[in-house]
């Protein structure tokens, strides 16, 4: 994985609580056997009208193309464990999700794919919301979100952060512990 230190992107506000992974990527698009090409179905049922055309009222259909940071309502990513959710968001150009709460499995899946999943306090969320017209810079090393005139500090899991900053592959990290795993298995068999 390539190291990830900064994200510069426009903020898009999706102020809806409890956005579940069925909204992020409906189950009927999980029939793929690869990770690619899911972006066109991200938020499919909110994004397209019945005739298949983009709904101009949906925020992700507004503004110019390019990378985005999603400022989402409370408890983002609840529901299914489908990793297709972060795959779809990344493929749709969403590089980070910021919310006051993020569901455990989604957060875990997101960070393993380089999609920043950042939890902020309700007060911080409100101050970011006030800056949603500006370009934002997320500095993963400093753990700050610079949104216009506002700088919001955040904390993400230290191990996930280190892996992202250095481009460490977690499977490689686990494979380096093969001796420990051998010993554990031998200890149980004894």
């Amino acid at each position: 994985m390539n190291p990830l230190t900064h994200i510069t992107a426009r903020a898009t506000v999706l102020d809806i609580a409890n956005i579940d992974t069925d909204q992020i990527i409906p189950a009927r698009f999980l029939t793929t056997t690869t990770r690619i090409g899911l972006g066109k179905h991200a938020f499919n049922d909110w994004r397209y009208r019945a005739d298949g055309s983009p709904d101009p009222n949906f925020v992700l259909n507004q503004g110019e193309a390019g990378d985005r940071v999603l400022l989402a309502g409370d408890n983002f990513g609840c529901g299914s464990s489908r990793e297709h959710a972060p795959w779809a968001l990344l493929d749709a150009g969403i590089r980070a999700v910021i919310s006051t709460r993020i569901a455990d499995i989604f957060r875990n899946n997101a960070l393993k794919n380089g999609l920043l999943a950042i939890v902020v306090s309700p007060e911080q969320w409100a101050s970011l919301h006030a800056q949603s017209g500006a370009a934002w810079v997320i500095d993963l090393r400093a753990e700050t979100i610079q949104a216009g005139a506002v700088i919001v500090p955040f904390k993400i899991d230290a191990f996930a952060r280190a892996c992202l900053l250095e481009g460490v592959d977690e499977l490689g990290y686990l494979l380096k512990r093969t001796d420990l795993i051998d010993r554990f298995e031998q200890g149980r068999a004894a």
Binding site: A27, T32, N109, L174, I181, E185
Partner: protein, 469 residues
């Protein structure tokens, strides 16, 4: 020193490497369950690295999410919803053959929804760590196993190393005091709990369900409770094993046999929370206050007793949910018209669930405006149900008796309702579009679902249950 919780005991028994500052624990996985939807990309990771599974004997596969619930034709051919679902099923068959993983495919008498078939086979045992690329893996916690859903990247980690990198969750006790009223069941209880705690109430926690009402539940009912732990955001749900757990497991194909059985039971008995252990959070629920309950909104935390009324519009979430569900603030849920009834899913597709519904339906007809699907959770459930004639009750009532699978819970296999239709469903998620685009889902118990099928509207099932008794 204070004692340990059940969760801490299982965790410690599986720590290959303890967590340190800036580094998660390495946790050993005893049992890895896979299905066709969340595994193909993980097999590709093995291929790209030229690796095999570290412990192929600890991974078991089944086909459930994308499989048709209509029978195969005379040549054994299945009719799939589309080419993609068929390709996904074939890919799992190919992957399992290539990597030496046991698969319970169409030729297996044990195929079924992963969270139904694994306990039936005795694969699920107390004190184990169990993972699957499926959030309802929490189901297996009913046996006192630490069981949780993982993403596909982690499926690859387990394939390659039999381990996961894990941060330790916090602990929460849900003490269910007293007894449930007659004809109030596990589904009503867990909906009530999620309604109380909310859909993020368990985030970051492993929940242990405790108390008299939990001990009184059958193993199938305990699975229903643990299954929906994820719907309040919990990492896992647990119930300490007891004599009922051991009796249920005894004699199952993968359960220890002979002298090993007694040793196993002695070991399993240690997997309980010590009396002086401390939980990070304790919630108390009064079992006697639980009523037959359903959801009214678009997340599993929006719960109402069938005798109750919908809330007033307190926030945007309520307004949005009411608008999607085409319901009014303050209205009664009783009497809301129903189009489809789905009896099935890893929450409620086991034999006692089908019996509960059949007891309501026996000798009655499904309302002419309602379509009812009954989808047993596994080949074993289907056989057992047919052996006691339950299928005849459903068919005589006008319901469709289907082949096992996840079916309309998430509609991947094409079992979906039409836009705008209202489905009373024994499944676990009422998210927008979950059962088809624009479809409205009301989560309910098997008895409530059966009563709705007969009445054509949402109704308290107790009048039917009392009449049948």
């Amino acid at each position: 020193m204070s004692g340990k919780t059940l969760f801490e005991k299982i965790w410690q028994a599986h720590e290959v490497e303890a967590a340190e500052a800036g580094r998660p624990a390495v946790l050993y996985v005893d049992l890895h369950l896979i299905h066709e939807v969340t595994s193909p990309q993980a097999f590709d990771v093995l291929r790209a690295r030229g690796m095999g599974l570290r412990q192929p004997g600890r991974t078991v596969a089944t086909l459930d999410h994308s499989t048709p619930t209509t029978p195969a034709d005379a040549e054994g051919r299945h009719t799939y919803a589309d080419a993609a679902t068929e390709a996904q099923v074939r890919q799992l068959q190919t992957n399992c053959a290539e990597f030496g993983v046991t698969i319970h495919g169409y030729d297996s008498p044990s195929r079924g929804i992963v969270h139904v078939m694994a306990p039936e086979l005795g694969l699920t045992q107390p004190g184990m760590t169990i993972v699957c690329g499926d959030s309802h893996t929490s189901t297996h916690g009913a046996f006192g196993a630490l069981a949780f859903g993982i993403g596909t990247t982690e499926v690859g980690h387990v394939f390659a190393t039999q381990c996961l990198l894990q941060q330790k969750a916090k602990t929460m006790a849900i003490e269910v005091e007293g007894r449930l009223k007659p004809n109030v069941g596990a589904k009503d209880l867990i909906l009530h709990i999620i309604g109380q705690l909310g859909v993020a109430g368990g985030t970051g926690h492993v929940v242990e369900y405790r108390g008299e009402a939990i001990r009184a539940l059958s193993m199938e009912a305990r699975m229903t409770v643990c299954n929906m732990s994820i719907e309040m955001g919990a990492r896992a749900g647990l119930i300490a094993p007891d004599e009922q757990t051991f009796a249920w497991l005894k004699g199952r194909p993968n359960a220890p046999q002979g002298a090993d059985w007694n040793q196993a039971v002695a070991r399993w008995k240690q997997f309980t929370t010590d009396s002086d252990a401390q939980f990070d959070r304790v919630v108390t629920i009064d079992a006697s206050a639980v009523e037959p309950s359903v959801t009214w909104g678009t997340d599993p935390g929006k719960v109402v007793a069938i005798s109750g009324r919908l809330p007033e519009v307190a926030d945007e979430g309520v307004r949005k949910a009411l608008a999607y569900m085409k319901l009014e603030a303050g209205q009664a849920i009783h009497g809301v018209p129903v189009d489809v009834v789905f009896l099935g899913s890893c929450t409620n597709s086991r034999l006692p669930d089908l019996q509960e519904a059949a007891a309501v339906l026996r000798g009655l007809r499904v309302h002419p405006k309602v379509r009812m699907l009954v989808v047993p959770g596994s080949e074993a459930v289907k056989r057992d149900a047919e052996a006691i004639g339950l299928h005849e009750v459903f068919i005589a009532a006008g319901a469709e008796w289907r082949e096992p699978g996840c079916s309309m819970c998430l509609g991947m296999n094409g079992d979906i309702a039409k836009p705008g239709e209202l489905v009373v469903s024994t499944s676990n998620r009422n998210f927008e579009g979950r059962q088809g685009k624009g479809v409205r889902t009301v989560l309910a118990s098997p008895a409530t679902a059966a009563a709705a099928a007969v009445a054509g509207v949402i109704v308290d099932p107790r009048s039917f249950q009392e009449a049948a008794a």
